[in-house]
């Protein structure tokens, strides 16, 4: 425990290790608790949505009512009472902000505290544009003018519905239909905000796009929806970060991310998920049920998911790739860390439909404390996917005698020309390795963090640089107190 004093920046006022655990005191406009067609109509009305979208929401809601919450994941949690949640909460502002100057200073302060500067001149010399989503609405999107010069659209999805209805209508729900699963149906019925990105033909997006999600209000579910469309020959790198205040009760987060990649286009999607994980006894924390999927529709398209998952009490998340276009490529790089009582069931699906498609899965799971973690993956090769290639590697590192680590890959091959390879190992930090570091003067916690960072290296190198530094710090914080 020698490094405790070396990281003073991580301790917040409550003395806990989760530094994003503060609550912003801001007046909010909240719809009544519970879920019904009326609530959905209310959400839709508050957002001034067109009828077609309301209809879709209602359809999804009716379908959702027929579904049962899935139980196949290795997760155990108290039943969620969907009628005991708020489905809409927005910071109260008289009118929608036209520019950043009109945004409530209290909100700007929140994001500053989180290390997300929304004032454009402060954003890292113009390399990242940010969309900030606070509870149910997007509060600010930076650099829109600069992006517009290139024809790139980056705005809250609620705005896109009104300003780019053809695009939204065409692609929304085309990758993840509301019939997909329980949480996708729920999200399709009640989603409130999120980001919309469109990269026109042949454009390389000049900066990283980033969305920052924040749950603030109590008992509020956050249901954001992200839609990214990369038109032919385009490229974009997109980052997503998440935090929530420290609360004793559980917060629900059920999001959908849809990505459409057309011919010769490439999308890189990176996530650093750091929702509040609950305290060391498992009290509180975010329930994170997310459906993320990318469709590589055109030939030579490519999508790459990179995720660093350190937060949430419960994680249920399988970012997937549908490799439809010939020669399309899907990648999944994941680091998931669970400590204390956290539970994560996460992985990916690679669905090979086109010819010469290839995919790669590198998953690194670290379990500590009394946490449980499952890698669950599917590699599926359809009869037409000649010459499909997959390489999967799932490594688990266990720290301490009370944690659990599970690996469940499904491999389904219906084409003989496919070459598929899966490897998985589990290990612990050996006493020999620890002793070697200590013998060279490195303290135990620092040694653990060195070894864990080494273990995760293959994944971390796929993150954009600023993100990688933040992620490495997060990993160390997440594992504090797991040894010794």
């Amino acid at each position: 425990m020698t490094t405790e004093q070396e990281k003073p920046e991580i301790a917040d006022e409550s003395g806990d290790k989760y530094k994003y655990g503060f609550v912003t005191d801001i007046a909010s406009d909240t719809a009544p608790k519970g879920l019904s067609e009326d609530i959905i109509r209310l959400i839709s009305q508050k957002k001034g949505e067109p009828d077609w979208l309301l209809e879709r929401r209602l359809e999804a809601f009716r379908f959702w009512q027929k579904l049962k919450e899935p139980t196949w994941a290795k997760l155990s949690y108290d039943k969620i009472d969907y009628q005991d949640l708020y489905y809409y909460s927005a910071p109260k502002q008289k009118v929608a902000p036209k520019s950043l100057d009109e945004v409530d200073p209290e909100l700007l302060k929140t994001y500053e505290k989180l290390g997300i500067p929304l004032k454009e001149q402060e954003v890292l010399s113009g390399v990242v544009a940010v969309d900030a989503v606070f509870d149910s609405v997007s509060v600010a999107t930076t650099y829109r003018a600069k992006l517009a010069e290139k024809g790139v659209i980056f705005c809250p999805i609620s705005e896109a519905v009104k300003e780019y209805p053809e695009l939204v209508k065409k692609y929304l729900g085309s990758v993840v239909p509301y019939t997909d699963n329980f949480f996708a149906a729920l999200n399709s019925a009640v989603f409130t905000d999120g980001s919309f990105v469109y990269i026109p033909k042949g454009v390389r997006c000049p900066m990283e796009l980033s969305t920052y999600f924040r749950i603030n209000a109590q008992n509020t579910g956050q249901f954001e929806r992200t839609l990214i469309v990369a038109d032919e020959g385009s490229y974009v790198s997109y980052l997503e970060g998440c935090t929530a205040p420290q609360r004793d009760e559980n917060q629900l987060h059920a999001a959908i991310v849809e990505i459409v990649v057309l011919k010769d286009a490439e999308v890189k999607y990176s996530t650093v998920q750091n929702w509040y994980p609950g305290d060391k006894d498992g009290k509180g924390g975010v329930y994170n049920f997310v459906t993320k999927r990318a469709a590589c529709r055109g030939a030579n398209s490519k999508v790459s998911w990179t995720q660093v998952e350190t937060g949430s009490a419960i994680t249920w998340k399988y970012p997937s790739c549908i490799l439809q276009g010939d020669n399309s490529v899907g990648e999944f790089y994941s680091v998931a860390i669970t400590n204390n009582r956290q539970q994560a069931d996460t992985g990916t699906k690679m669905i090979h439909l086109g010819r010469n498609t290839s995919s790669k899965i590198i998953s690194k799971g670290i379990s500590a404390g009394r946490s449980n973690q499952t890698y669950r993956g599917l590699v599926k090769v359809s009869p037409n996917a000649a010459n499909a290639r997959n390489y999967s590697q799932c490594d688990s590192l266990l720290i301490g005698p009370d944690c659990g680590s599970h690996t469940i890959p499904y491999v389904e091959n219906r084409n003989k020309t496919a070459k598929l390879e899966h490897e998985a190992t589990t290990s612990k930090i050996s006493e020999e390795q620890l002793f070697y570091c200590q013998q060279r003067g490195i303290g135990e916690e620092e040694a653990v963090s060195l070894i864990v960072n080494g273990f995760c290296k293959e994944v971390m190198q796929h993150l954009p640089l600023e993100f990688a530094i933040e992620a490495a710090k997060l990993i160390n914080i997440s594992l504090e107190g797991s040894v010794g």
């Binding site: 659990g404 389904e412 003989k416 190992t425 589990t426």
Partner: protein
């Protein structure tokens, strides 16, 4: 749909505890029903054939003549089997159409083999083991097997016995009757320090299009310091359904070494659930399958490490041709107290045709950090360059394929320690002409 649970009079119906057990089996089976697409343990193997036909128990001896439907040009051979005798030197136990026919006379002292129903009547120790090694609530076919508990063997081998030859359980199916079902239960107990080999051989002669259903449950208990080598060759008729469940428990420093070659059946599953219950118990499970036509062949393993210093390895290799589907599900479970354990598993499959399919689910479930575990899976096709090279040197295509397939399966066949059995199975692991 035919009912698999039927009201029939079985031997031993005068024993209330046995009747009660059968009743329980029937209830558990009916509660679960046949596995469907939603049954995770049977995700890739759906026993549709069992829905399509009505299966019945074999007719009793006195009814056999009358029941024969073959007519005067009878070639079915139901009067006399024509199938291959067990080709190797062994203590042979023959079954014909699901019924025990003969037990070798020259068994060494210390080896006791009794018909199951006789052992049940004698009630000399069998109740300690019977139906004690698995959970009927989670195994529909083992429950069904319990509902028909009658045929099979109770084998006990006394402390420190070393068998000089394998015991061979040879199952000949050759009945002309359609849609027979056989439910067999073997309870095998190796006491402390025993070293033994057991071979199971399922073969078919007679009308090759015959459809029947074999449902076997083996309950195997390996004592402290004991070692069992368990070989199996499944070569059923091509329309048959073969479902086998091996529940194995291994005690301290005991060793179980299983090898299964599957080649026959339209739907075949060999499932092994093995528990290493005490320190330093070890297991090796190896398997090979080679298939054609429309068959589905399933190899499922579930190895539980329940004690410290236990060790298991698995190697399964398959060759899938025709429109067949190979399935491998393998699980390694490591309990919280099972420190210093090692578990390794590897599955590889070769797809020969465009319509062939392979579905794999290797699984690790680990509840403590002081373990070494790994699994791997790979699938691919024959190397075109190698094939071409051989053909360019004058080797015919079929022969060249066979050479490559032989090479592919060689490492798993090498796991067989008994040279005679290795040679026998290597000769059987060939592509169909």
């Amino acid at each position: 749909m035919g009912e698999l649970v039927q009201k029939v009079e079985l031997m031993g119906s005068d024993l209330p505890w046995l009747e009660g057990l059968r009743e329980k089996g029937a209830v558990f089976f009916e509660r679960q029903g046949l596995p469907t697409a939603k049954t995770e343990a049977w995700k890739y193997t759906r026993p549709r054939d069992l829905l399509a036909d009505d299966f019945i128990l074999p007719p009793l001896e006195e009814e056999k003549e009358n029941a024969c439907t073959c007519g005067e040009h009878c070639t079915c051979g139901h009067h006399q089997r024509e199938g291959e005798d067990f080709p190797l030197s062994a203590y042979v136990i023959d079954f014909e159409n699901g019924a025990l026919e003969h037990i070798a006379h020259n068994l060494p002292r210390g080896v006791t083999i009794k018909p199951l129903i006789e052992a049940i009547y004698e009630d000399d120790g069998i109740r300690k083991y019977l139906n004690k090694s698995f959970d009927m609530e989670k195994n529909p076919f083992a429950a069904l097997n319990t509902a028909y508990l009658e045929q099979g063997l109770f084998i006990t081998i006394e402390k420190n016995m070393r068998l000089d030859k394998p015991l061979a359980l040879v199952h000949h199916s050759f009945s002309c009757h359609e849609n027979l079902m056989f439910h067999l239960r073997n309870v095998i107990v190796l006491e402390e320090g025993v070293k033994a080999e057991i071979v199971e051989y399922y073969n078919y002669s007679g009308n090759e299009k015959s459809r029947y259903f074999t449902n076997i449950v083996n309950e195997i208990y390996v004592g402290r310091h004991a070692e069992l080598k368990h070989y199996k060759f499944q070569d059923e008729a091509f329309k048959a359904v073969h479902i086998a469940y091996n529940a194995v428990k291994v005690k301290g420093e005991g060793r179980y070494n299983g090898f299964c070659l599957q080649r026959g059946g339209n739907l075949a599953r060999n499932e092994t659930r093995l528990s290493l219950t005490e320190e330093r118990a070890e297991a090796e499970i190896n398997a090979a399958y080679i298939m054609n036509g429309w068959a589905v062949i399933d190899t499922t393993t579930d190895v539980e490490h329940l004690a410290p210093y236990t060790k298991s390895t698995q190697l399964v290799k398959g060759v899938v041709g025709g429109q067949a589907k190979g399935v491998f599900q393998g699980k390694i479970h490591i309990a919280p107290m099972a420190i210093k354990t090692e578990g390794a598993q590897l599955h590889k499959a070769l797809l020969l045709t465009d319509e062939a399919e392979i579905d794999v689910k290797p699984e690790l479930e680990i509840y403590n950090d002081d373990v070494k575990c790994s699994h791997g899976a790979a699938s691919g096709e024959l190397d075109a360059d190698q094939l071409f090279y051989m053909r360019s040197r004058g080797i015919g295509e079929e022969e060249a394929k066979q050479i490559l397939v032989d090479a592919y399966l060689q490492d798993v066949l090498e796991k067989i320690n008994n040279q005679d059995i290795k040679d026998w199975l290597a000769a059987k692991a060939k592509l169909a002409k």
